[in-house]
Each structure stands twice: as structure tokens, then as C-alpha cells.
């Protein structure tokens, strides 16, 4: 299978500029600066590149949202916040192939006439930030960034900005606020970042992986990239597999790979041959699947069809014997802790869900608690400024829909039937 991102990642030299250039790095940028800007955008459009930050928005379409007039400077914000539990794919790029991202940024900015790019990297990524900063410095020194890059007459400044460790700062308008030095609160939309974003300027926000795909697209053509995937999902995706599988890790796979194959072939199946109980397919916010539901292609549309999402393609494998109430209560702790607190339904709903799931798990659940959870989810979903409320409600709903009997048993028996184990 042809790979876009991981081809050289096993090579330690690849993360430094010499190693990267030795493998053909920055040739795409050289090609790009000789191309008309519009045709770079056209290649990305043809590539069917879908955003890798979780929502899967077509990158070419998003690029087209930037205003057509150039009266105001524009900004690129690179989302390297990677906060979604179960997701650790951007990290692979940041540590093993940071120049993929830097080159992708340079090409994107050139194509869209953006002169300032900010990489917002999550606070916990200390090592990653250091490697990234080193890569940016190398690229400046080699003339791939900064004034008159590659003699093209085009100037580009790239700044690495470290977050302080808040999941919500990965939501793009929250990222922008945080970048501006404000409290990391999502903004009310409209206006969308494309018209009023960072520092009040038109802003493009893309995920690390999305941008890292761009050099390959420019080098090999959008159509070839599209052909690597399936109909509406061009290219490959980095899939992170976690949980008790034989070979957890990040794999580059075609968009239309079968989810079952991801777990049983690529990741080697469950450790010790344990039976599978459930899978959270695309990061902790995506609705859970029962073991028998995973024979499905892992592209955005197919996943939507069965009521879940490809999300960040962070596959969380849950073995038989895990208490699903406990698992949900862990997730609810996370969302309650990470809600920024501005919208009433999310601020109070996430905390309430945490308390109810916690008490059910502790054997103190009350009759009606399950219905209460479902009703609260209904009152949260689609009622807030950003998608965090949905991100908390979707697992809660799906865990109950798919594993209702476990919740009922906890309440009826007044204890965890699994002895509080995972």
C-alpha cells in the first residue's frame, strides 16, 4: 500500500531537516512556489482531503471560505492541541516527521497568501514542542520559512505557541482565543474564523495531519491522493489503536479500511485472545459500537450510516469484562472537567452526568437514573456554543443504548457487577 505520511517515519534522521530533504523533503514546496496559487488550491480540492481534526470537513472547501479580497492579512492556525482521549496521531507527525507539517504549512500559506502561521500545540506536548521548534528553526535557516522563502518573494512567519493543557482549547475558536491570550472559550458563530478569526483577521484552522498531507498532494497530484482513499475520503488516515490489543499504535491506512481488520489484522487482535466487547471508533466523543457492529468500512460516511463517527480515528478497543458503566463514568469525569463553563447546558449537564454515572457505578444509582441521563443528553445536544456538550452526550447515550442491561444491573444490585474493574 502506498503511504503518504509514514513512509520514512521509522528513520530517525527524517525528523531533522537534512534527513527530511534527503528523502525528497521540501521539493513539494519548491514545486508549489512555481505554481499559480489557484492551482495548488485546486489540487487540494481534487484530493478530497477531509479535515483530520475530527469533523472531517473538506479542506479544499474550507480554504475557499477565506475572503476573496486580500485587503486584510490572513492567518493560519495549526491545530496541534490533540486533546481528544484515544487520539495520538498528530504526535507521531510532530515527533517523527515535523518537517512534513512545516512544509505543509509553507505550501498552504503560499497558496492562500497567508503570511503568519501559528502552531497551537497542547501544553502537555513538551518534547513535541521542542522538536517542532527545532524543525521550524531549521526551516527558517534553510530559507523555507521567513522572508522571501525560496526566492519566491513570499514572506512567511511561523510561530509555535504552547497551550496550557485544556481540551477545550482544541475547539478552533477556543484555540484562537487562547492564542490571543484570552480565556480559552469557544466563540459564538457566526462570524466564522474565515471572516473574523485570530486577532480579528480572516483565519484558516487546520489540523496537523490535514496540513501534513499537503506536500504529498502537491508533489503527486490531487487525483492520485484521492485514489488512495474512497469516494468522498481522499488519501490515507492515521489511525491510532489503543486498548489491550497485541500491537497498539498509529497506523497509516486507506480511508476505506475495514474497522474489524484494523483491530484484528493490523493491531493483531486482543491480547491473550480476549473477546471484544466494544469499540469507540474515532476518539472518546464518538458513539460506541458493540463487538458485532465493527465489520464496517472506516470512512466518514460509512461510520455516519451506523450512527457513529470516524472522528479523529482514535480507535479505543474495549475487551469483554470491562464495566461499561465505569468506562462511561471515566469519560464523564473528563468532559465535566474540560467543559469551559460558558453554556448552561454543558457546564451543568456534564457535571450532572459525571455525578449520576459515578453514583450508578458506586452502587448508589436510583431507579430512573438511566432515563434521567438520556433526558439530560437530549437537553444538552445541539444546544450549546461548541460541540463539547455533544461530545459528552454522545458517549453517554450510546453506552446506554448499547449496554443498557449493565446500567440496570448496577442499580438493581446496588453494586458494580464487575467488581469495579475495567
Amino acid at each position: 500500500m502506498e503511504t503518504v505520511l509514514t513512509t520514512h517515519l521509522a528513520d530517525d534522521r527524517y525528523r531533522r531537516i537534512d534527513g527530511y530533504r534527503g528523502s525528497g523533503g521540501y521539493e513539494a514546496l519548491r514545486k508549489a512556489v512555481s505554481m499559480p496559487r489557484e492551482s495548488i488550491v485546486e489540487e487540494v480540492r481534487k484530493a478530497n482531503l477531509r479535515g483530520r481534526g475530527g469533523a472531517g470537513f473538506p479542506a479544499g472547501v474550507k480554504w475557499g471560505f477565506l475572503p476573496k479580497d486580500f485587503s486584510r492579512p490572513r492567518v493560519l492556525v495549526v491545530n496541534a492541541d490533540e486533546g481528544e482521549p484515544g487520539t495520538f496521531k498528530d504526535r507521531l507527525i510532530l515527533t517523527r516527521g515535523p518537517h512534513l507539517l512545516v512544509e505543509g504549512i509553507a505550501i498552504t500559506c503560499y497558496a492562500l497568501a497567508i503570511h503568519s502561521a501559528y502552531i497551537y500545540i497542547r501544553g502537555e506536548y513538551v518534547l513535541e514542542a521542542r522538536i517542532l521548534e527545532e524543525a521550524v528553526a531549521e526551516a527558517y535557516a534553510a530559507g523555507f520559512l521567513g522572508k522571501d522563502l525560496l526566492g519566491s518573494g513570499f514572506d512567511l512567519d511561523v510561530t509555535v505557541h504552547r497551550g496550557a493543557g485544556a481540551y477545550i482549547c482544541g475547539e478552533e475558536t477556543s484555540t484562537i482565543n487562547s492564542l490571543e491570550g484570552k480565556r480559552g472559550w469557544p466563540r459564538l458563530k457566526p462570524p466564522f474564523p474565515a471572516s473574523v478569526g485570530a486577532f480579528g483577521l480572516p483565519t484558516l484552522v487546520n489540523n496537523v495531519e490535514t496540513l501534513a498531507d499537503v506536500p504529498w498532494i502537491v508533489a503527486n497530484g490531487g487525483e492520485r491522493f484521492a485514489a488512495l482513499g474512497c469516494e468522498k475520503n481522499g488519501g490515507t488516515r492515521l489511525v491510532g489503536v489503543s486498548g489491550p490489543v497485541e500491537r497498539p499504535g498509529v497506523y497509516e491506512l486507506p480511508a476505506n479500511v475495514n474497522l474489524r481488520d484494523v483491530i484484528y489484522d493490523i493491531a493483531g487482535g486482543l491480547r491473550g485472545g480476549k473477546p471484544l466487547k466494544a469499540v469507540i471508533p474515532g476518539g472518546s466523543s464518538t458513539p460506541v459500537l458493540r463487538a458485532e457492529e465493527i465489520d464496517v468500512t472506516f470512512d466518514i460516511e460509512s461510520m455516519a450510516k451506523i450512527g457513529t463517527m470516524a472522528g479523529t480515528s482514535g480507535v479505543i478497543v474495549i475487551p469483554e469484562g470491562t464495566c461499561m458503566v465505569r468506562a462511561l463514568s471515566v469519560l464523564m469525569n473528563f468532559y465535566a472537567h474540560e467543559s469551559c463553563g460558558q453554556c448552561s447546558p454543558c457546564r451543568e449537564g456534564t457535571g450532572w452526568l459525571r455525578k449520576i454515572t459515578g453514583r450508578i457505578e458506586a452502587g448508589e444509582g436510583r431507579p430512573g437514573d438511566v432515563e434521567l441521563i438520556l433526558d439530560l443528553c437530549d437537553n444538552m445536544m445541539g444546544r450549546t456554543i461548541c460541540a463539547l456538550a455533544d461530545a459528552a452526550a454522545m458517549p453517554a447515550q450510546s453506552f446506554i443504548w448499547k449496554f443498557r442491561e449493565e446500567f440496570d444491573r448496577h442499580i438493581a444490585e446496588r453494586k458494580c457487577p464487575f467488581g469495579n474493574s475495567f
Partner: protein
């Protein structure tokens, strides 16, 4: 001009109008907490959710701009459930201490609970998150974080209106809390507005704390007498006691705000009042009846004119008086006493502070009105003081309880040079300690009329209740005095005086109380 329907009612609105504003035009109230007419849109309370055809999700009416052909529903089951759900979320941690909360009776939580709530709590008592109560955060404000619904109005006010940014959100999720930064209390002259805009009992007024249940209060439209801005206010009272001021919205004057200084000006109607007429004989105060004191003042004034000439008599008017009163004062000076010694000063004791928002250095509501009515200040006032100091004024009719910016000692010294002083005033002060005849007048809450603010805007204020004690309406008092000096005035209250002055006084020509209305009218220049 997009057209839309809201709950089946068709309405056309200007481009850029939000659903919430459009609904208001057709008399539909969409519930809200974070939305405030005079602050930016936050859209975070989520109370104003409505259904808009072709949108899969409910939309916030406060932030969604109307487009042509929009079909909005505020009355569906889906909307009702959403709003009820939001209200439930807002109430789960609430301490339900309404019986000791000053906001009770004008609280957004109570009001909407009666319409959208009426639910039993599904939240366990022991799960409530507790936060800090009764925090003195500076200025005029007490913060109770447990009652706060985190609507962010206060944060936006301090960001967008005063620019001082003392309050902010701290923590996240359901531990989010409004607070000041450690050791940095509220520090601006507009803190009282926070209690007004806080839709619940989280920010309440220190001054009003535990004074009166709000449903016992009556309100009357008034104008702040604190400075020449003339902020539009409502004066709230019970019986003959004023309890508080609240700003009224007037975008031409004060938008939705008033300053902290002005907010406490109401106390002048309650405290240190002159409540019964008295005369001072041989340095001793002796009570007098209205029937005796007005003729006596008239006699003293006319006797001084007769004996020493009109130049020995002076009238010092007050910029705290209404246009109507000043008009009569001028006529008494000019027509009855025939003296040119008539002046006022807008200088008042105190520091004359001002800022870019509302407060003006001139701490009087009607200096502009006095000038437009032909009463001079500045040099004329200084000249008059010169005459007093030189002992050339033998009888003085003085309005108010201070003499310009003079200190109490200076005032006493100057007034000791005048053999007869009649004071018309509401409060005790240096003047009432020196005057020979004290004629107590109704406070601004006890009388009506108009003030002309610094920009020439004529604005009406109304009486809330009859004059306290034996204090008298100034117009009535001036009529009695003028008639004692040989006039035959038949004015029956401020409206008839305004009618008269609007016929003869050019700046006010053609104005009526109706044309002045609730929001004022510019005087001609």
C-alpha cells in the same frame, strides 16, 4: 428589509435585526439571561432557543440575524422542552435562599420558573456545588457566587462599558465562578449598574441590602440631580422614603447606566431635611407658620427695596431648581423686586470630578436651564458675592443649602454681612444656619418639573409622593411670595408654569410636556 413570521405573525424588520428583537416588535417575549440590549451578544445562557424552519438545530434568538422569509417558532414543544431544560440546569446548584435575597421579586430565575419551570428538582441536594457567598467585592456591590448563573453580563459590562475588567470567570465546568482578582476590588464609578444588569441575586447593592422587599416599592420616572448629564432614572420609594434609584434607558443621555455617585443622591431626599418653616430671631430658631412666614419675607424684601433701592436686594438662584421654578424666580427678581442682582453658580462644594462616560464636573441638573432662562452665572455671580462681601446687599433671597463652592466657614462669613436672608431649601446646610427665614421646599421626589441637561435636553421628572412634613412645593411657595409682593399669579402646578414659559422663553418656545415626553426634547439653540 427582511420579512419573517414568528409564531405565525408576519413582521418586517430592518436588515441586521435579530430574532429576539424582531419578536419583541410583535409583542413576543423570548426568555433570556445573557442578552442585554446595551452589551455585546454572548449567546451562552441558551435560554432564547427557538425553532427556525430549515435549521436542524434550535437557534439562539439573541444572535441569529433575521433573513428574508424566515419562519420562526417560539411556542413548540421542542422549544419549550429546551428552555425548561436550560432553566433546570441553571437551577440545580441554586441555594434557593429567595427569602433572604434582595433580588426576590425582580429575579429572572423566579420569573421564568413560574413560566417554564414549575418542575420538581431532579438534582440531589448533596450534589450541589457550593460557592462563596456574601463577598464584598468593592464598590456598591456584594457578590453571592452561589446565586450566579454565569451569564457573563457583569464581565461584559466591565469590559465594554467601563473598560476596567475587574470581574472574570474562574475555574471551569460546574465549578466556574465569577470573581474579582485577588486583592483587586471593583474600582470604578459605575459599579451599581452591576446589580441592575445581574439578572439574579448574585450581584446586589450594598446600599439597598435588606432594606426593603422590592414588591413594596413604587416607582416614578425621574432625572438624577447629581450632575448636568441628567441621567434618566426611576426613583423607588415606599411611603415618603426613597429607597433607591435605577437607571432608565435613554440612548440620547445615559444609555442604560448611571454612576455610583448619582445613585446615592436619593439620600438627600431622606436625610437632613428642612421640614418646617422657621425664623431666626436674635440668633435663636423660632418655628413659624406658612401663613406668617411668607408675608414676612415679602415684607422684608419690599421694605429693603423701598429703603435702600433695588440694588440692595439680591436673589441667588439654584441650578438644582427646575426650569419652571427658575422661570418664576427670575420673574420675581425682575418684575417684583426690580433688581438686577440675580445669579447662580454651578460651582458646588466637592471635587468636581468627571469622566468620559457620564459624570460631568457640573454637579447640578439644571445649570443649562438657568442660563437659557436668562439667569447669569460666572462673573455675575462673582459680582454679586462681591456686593455681599462689601455689605451692600441688605436683603437676600437664596435658593438651596450651599453658596457656590464656598466652604461652610466662608459661607457663614459672607452671609453674616446680610441683615435679612430668606432661604428656600430642602436640606439643612451652612445657609439654613445663617438664614433669618427658612422656607422648606419639597425634595426632587416630592415635586415635578423639567431640567435642561448640559446638552440642552429638556427632561421631565415626576413627584412620587407629597412633600414631607411641612415642606412646600416650590412653585406654590413662589406664587405665594410673588402675590405677597403684589402679583396676581394663578399658576396651578408645574404644567401651567411650563405652558407660560414655553410661550415667552425662546429656547423653550412651542414645547409642551407632551412633546418632552418620557425621553426629553432638545431646547432650541
Amino acid at each position: 428589509m427582511p420579512n419573517l413570521t414568528i409564531d405565525g405573525l408576519a413582521v418586517g424588520v430592518p436588515e441586521g435585526t435579530t430574532i429576539l428583537a424582531a419578536a419583541k416588535q410583535v409583542g413576543i417575549h423570548i426568555p433570556h439571561y445573557c442578552y442585554h440590549t446595551h452589551l455585546s451578544i454572548a449567546g451562552n445562557c441558551r435560554m432564547c432557543l427557538v425553532e427556525v424552519e430549515k435549521f436542524p438545530k434550535l437557534q439562539t434568538a439573541c444572535s441569529t440575524v433575521v433573513t428574508e422569509g424566515m419562519v420562526v417558532r417560539t411556542d413548540t414543544e421542542k422549544v419549550r422542552k429546551a428552555v425548561t431544560g436550560v432553566l433546570e440546569f441553571l437551577l440545580i446548584h441554586h441555594p434557593i435562599d429567595c427569602p433572604i435575597c434582595d433580588q426576590a421579586g425582580e429575579c429572572g430565575l423566579q420569573d421564568y420558573y413560574m413560566v417554564y419551570g414549575l418542575h420538581r428538582s431532579r438534582y440531589a441536594l448533596e450534589d450541589k456545588v457550593h460557592k462563596k457567598k456574601v463577598q464584598d467585592i468593592g464598590g456598591q456591590i456584594v457578590l453571592d457566587a452561589e446565586r450566579c448563573i454565569l451569564c457573563s453580563r457583569c464581565v461584559r459590562f466591565l469590559d465594554e462599558v467601563t473598560g476596567t475588567r475587574e470581574l472574570n470567570f474562574f475555574q471551569r465546568g460546574d465549578h466556574s465562578e465569577i470573581s474579582i482578582f485577588p486583592g483587586r476590588p471593583l474600582d470604578n464609578n459605575y459599579t451599581g449598574n452591576l446589580a441592575d444588569i445581574c439578572p439574579v441575586g448574585a450581584l446586589t447593592s450594598k446600599d439597598f441590602r435588606f432594606k426593603c422587599r422590592v414588591w413594596l416599592l413604587k416607582g416614578v420616572e425621574s432625572i438624577c440631580t447629581g450632575c448636568a448629564r441628567g441621567c434618566n432614572i426611576a426613583a423607588h420609594f415606599k411611603g415618603d422614603i426613597l429607597y433607591r434609584y435605577k437607571p432608565r434607558v435613554n440612548d440620547a443621555v445615559n444609555r442604560a447606566w448611571m454612576c455610583d455617585f448619582g445613585r446615592l443622591e436619593y439620600k438627600k431626599a431622606n436625610d437632613a431635611r428642612l421640614l418646617a418653616p422657621f425664623v431666626r430671631e436674635g440668633g435663636r430658631e423660632k418655628s413659624a407658620s406658612w401663613g406668617a412666614i411668607v408675608p414676612q419675607v415679602a415684607l422684608e424684601l419690599s421694605r429693603a427695596v423701598e429703603r435702600e433701592g433695588a440694588d440692595a436686594v439680591a436673589v441667588i438662584a439654584s441650578p438644582q431648581s427646575s426650569n419652571e421654578e427658575l422661570y418664576l424666580v427670575r420673574r420675581i427678581a425682575a418684575d417684583r423686586l426690580g433688581t438686577k442682582n440675580l445669579a447662580f453658580t454651578h460651582r458646588t462644594p466637592g471635587d468636581g470630578f468627571s469622566d468620559d462616560l457620564l459624570v460631568l464636573a457640573d454637579k447640578n441638573p439644571n445649570s443649562r436651564g438657568a442660563k437659557l432662562l436668562g439667569i447669569p452665572d460666572g462673573e455675575a455671580f462673582d459680582a454679586l458675592i462681591g456686593k455681599i462681601a462689601a455689605g451692600r446687599i441688605r436683603a437676600l433671597l437664596l435658593f438651596g443649602n450651599v453658596l457656590g463652592a464656598f466652604t461652610e466657614g466662608e459661607t457663614a462669613g459672607l452671609l453674616s454681612k446680610v441683615p435679612f436672608i430668606a432661604q428656600v431649601g430642602t436640606n439643612t446646610g451652612p445657609v439654613s444656619k445663617a438664614a433669618h427665614a427658612v422656607l422648606p421646599s419639597a425634595s426632587f421626589a416630592e415635586r415635578g418639573g423639567t431640567f435642561t441637561n448640559h446638552a440642552g435636553r429638556v427632561q421631565r421628572f415626576h413627584a412620587g409622593f407629597p412633600p414631607r412634613g411641612k415642606a412646600k412645593n416650590v412653585i406654590e411657595l413662589l406664587c405665594d411670595l410673588a402675590n405677597g409682593l403684589g402679583a396676581d399669579w394663578t399658576f396651578t402646578g408645574e404644567r401651567s408654569v411650563f405652558r407660560a414659559l414655553s410661550e415667552t422663553e425662546t429656547p423653550f418656545r412651542g414645547m409642551t410636556y407632551e412633546s418632552v415626553g418620557a425621553f426629553g426634547q432638545e431646547a432650541a439653540r
